[in-house]
Amino acid sequence: MKPRLSTLIRHLLALTIAATFLLPLAWTLAASLRPAGLPPPRGFEFLHWPPSFENYSRIFEILPFARYAFNSLLVALAGVLLTLLTASWAGFGMSLLGRRAQIRLLILSIFLQMIPFTALWLSRFLFFARLGLTNSYYAMLAPALMGTSPLFILLFYWTFRRIDRAVFESASLDGANLFQTWMRIALPLARPALMAVGLLAFLFYWNDFISPLLYLRSQTLYTLPVGMLQLQEMDRTNWPLLMAAAVLVTAPAVIVFAALQHSVLWWESE
């Protein structure tokens, strides 16, 4: 086989794969642009022409989606900030421990990473309820206390442990306490981890569906995924409208991903 041909085949294959994975989103987007009130399409139609954006404005008339979007953003930003703090602290602390303690924490983290939220949500709900923390964002943001996900801690840990300990020690000789060392020396060296964890934490809180479903009661506190469920229950088969909602909820996640994807997809590559 000539190298040219094999390269061409490889690229064609790659393009096909990429297109396949983009298809669900493309179909959703196309369906959301179908004018409201038309009878459903018979036969294959990728995009109704001319497209219409009225479904998007209609959503904001039916439900306070602007409010939901603001809430989602508030939760996601708070979640990201807190996560960056706690995860980098834990990763930093872990990298300074003795070797045996490090391994023990590593195993603990992998263990914790593996436990699905659904195995515990009911008792977490009862716990938060007894503390009076339901119907507020505290319960939703609680995972940020433990760095949201042990994986995030490990990402910082792997970053910090590659930094020579002498760097931190010299800082302490200059009179910096450990907190200052973390702030002025460790963090600036952990830009890739900050970006990767920032991205993943944003997606975690932005995408969260079960916690708001469980914890939030007041409509003024709802986030976008719950708003979308609300819309679905009002009109189960109004497809253009529902797909427009799905696109609205998805778009910010995709944008943030596009901006920061390099940090995750090429982690440690450089």
Partner: protein, 419 residues
């Protein structure tokens, strides 16, 4: 540390959303946007009359989720102060002691008294003889029909006293493949395959749904009458195809088809009116259910309940009292949402408004003497869900009628046995 101060400020922002009024209560409802608008009007009017009480309206779209939400809120110890609950769904809460009995409040009220209400709406809300909640409506299942489709097909509108046969003939004449591609584009009927929709057919056939209204121990829909009702009900889909099949229903549900003018008759309670008034672009009306051996309808009633965990019971009662006063019920009735449970309001212009659809609202009142209620039972929600799953399976042709009836009785038996 500027960063940490910023974060603290941010956290504060998260919690700083609640304001303090003198009295604050929350009121949880379910329903479509048009129904929500009706309750918003009620809350607004209440706020005018009682400026000292602030009401937060909490809205859950679907009734099934609404009940789950309420169960979760009760478990969290923080339910809304006023909740609307259907008579088929409140028993579990009453049994757990989660609801404040309202009989005593009603007796002391100078605004409303029990005899102002239709007894058919009040009775189901008595738990062990105690009135638990104050019903807002006495709705029942009716047939909504698209007059324009009837005209186009040359079919007479449903007449008073129409029979199952009349109904089926109309449904068949109204089921059409308009473009000749072999797929039905217009259905005669939209009917949800569930126990609440099926039950009136059993009564019409002369059968019973449970063995005892107040101390039920089993479903009894496997009688000859129940079997006949099931054959007819299921046959609408499996034999006559006048109702969408599972695939068609999932692709576009019957209510959307009706609102979009592609289904001629749709079975629903009074609940649909605000939405149809707003969205249906055609002339429509309501008719009583068709009859078989008997005339029978099914009660749909929701009531205002007061959770015992409410921290503001007096203010909550003031709201419930207002909502069930002539003034309050008139507001919600005018939206079309309810068939008022207050006899005076039901017979007033607010409900029988000749200028608002449906023109034949009187049907809801005329059929009250023929209304049957489903039993009040702690596990009724599960019983109904289980039976409905079996009915749906037969309805969509996945299992024979006798099998569905047998399994419905056998499986719901587990819930009747639970202590």
């Amino acid at each position: 540390m500027r960063l940490s101060r910023f974060i603290l400020a941010f956290l504060f922002l998260l919690s700083a959303c609640q304001s303090n009024a003198s009295e604050k209560i929350s009121f949880m409802v379910f329903g479509d946007p048009a129904e929500l608008a009706a309750y918003q009007k009620l809350v607004d009017a209440f706020s005018q009359a009682h400026p000292d009480v602030q009401v937060e309206l909490i809205h859950i779209p679907s009734q099934g989720d609404y009940r789950n939400r309420l169960a979760a809120d009760l478990a969290a110890g923080a339910p809304a102060d006023v909740v609307l609950i259907n008579y088929r769904r409140y028993a579990a809460f009453a049994d757990a002691g989660a609801l404040e009995p309202l009989g005593g409040y009603l007796e002391k009220s100078s605004v409303i008294k029990e005899s102002d209400f239709y007894p058919q709406a009040v009775e189901p809300f008595k738990w062990n003889g105690q009135l638990m909640c104050i019903p807002q409506n006495i709705s029942s299942l009716v047939v909504y029909y698209n007059k324009e489709l009837f005209d186009a097909a040359g079919v007479d509108y449903p007449a008073e006293g129409w029979t199952w046969d009349d109904f089926l003939a109309a449904a068949q004449a109204l089921t059409k493949d308009l473009d000749g591609d072999g797929a039905t584009d217009q259905f005669g009927v939209g009917l949800e395959p569930s126990l609440i929709r099926f039950a009136p057919f059993v009564w019409q056939a002369g059968g019973e749904v449970v063995d005892d209204q107040f101390h039920s121990t089993s479903l009894v829909i496997d009688s000859d009458e129940g079997y006949a009702a099931m054959e007819f009900f299921v046959g609408l889909q499996t034999v006559h195809h006048v109702v969408p099949n599972a695939e068609e229903e999932k692709s576009e549900d019957s209510e959307s088809r009706f609102v979009n003018g592609r289904t001629a008759m749709f079975f629903n309670s009074r609940r649909g009116v605000p939405t149809y008034r707003e969205s249906a672009q055609f002339d429509w009306d309501v008719a009583a259910l068709p009859q078989n051996k008997e005339q029978a309808g099914i009660l749909h009633a929701d009531a205002y309940c007061l959770p015992s965990a409410s921290k503001n019971k007096d203010a909550a009662w003031v709201f419930i009292e207002y909502a069930n006063s002539v003034e309050g019920q008139t507001i919600v009735a005018a939206s079309g949402r309810t068939v008022p449970s207050l006899i005076a309001v039901a017979n007033s212009c607010a409900f029988l408004d000749p200028n608002a659809k449906p023109a034949n609202s009187r049907v809801f009142l005329d059929t009250i003497p023929f209304i049957h209620a489903l039993p009040v039972h702690r596990f009724w929600v599960d019983i109904e869900d289980t039976a409905s799953a079996e009915i749906a399976r037969a309805f969509y042709g996945e299992t024979p009628v006798y099998d569905a009836l047998f399994r419905a009785i056998e499986r719901t038996g587990e819930y009747f046995k639970l202590k």
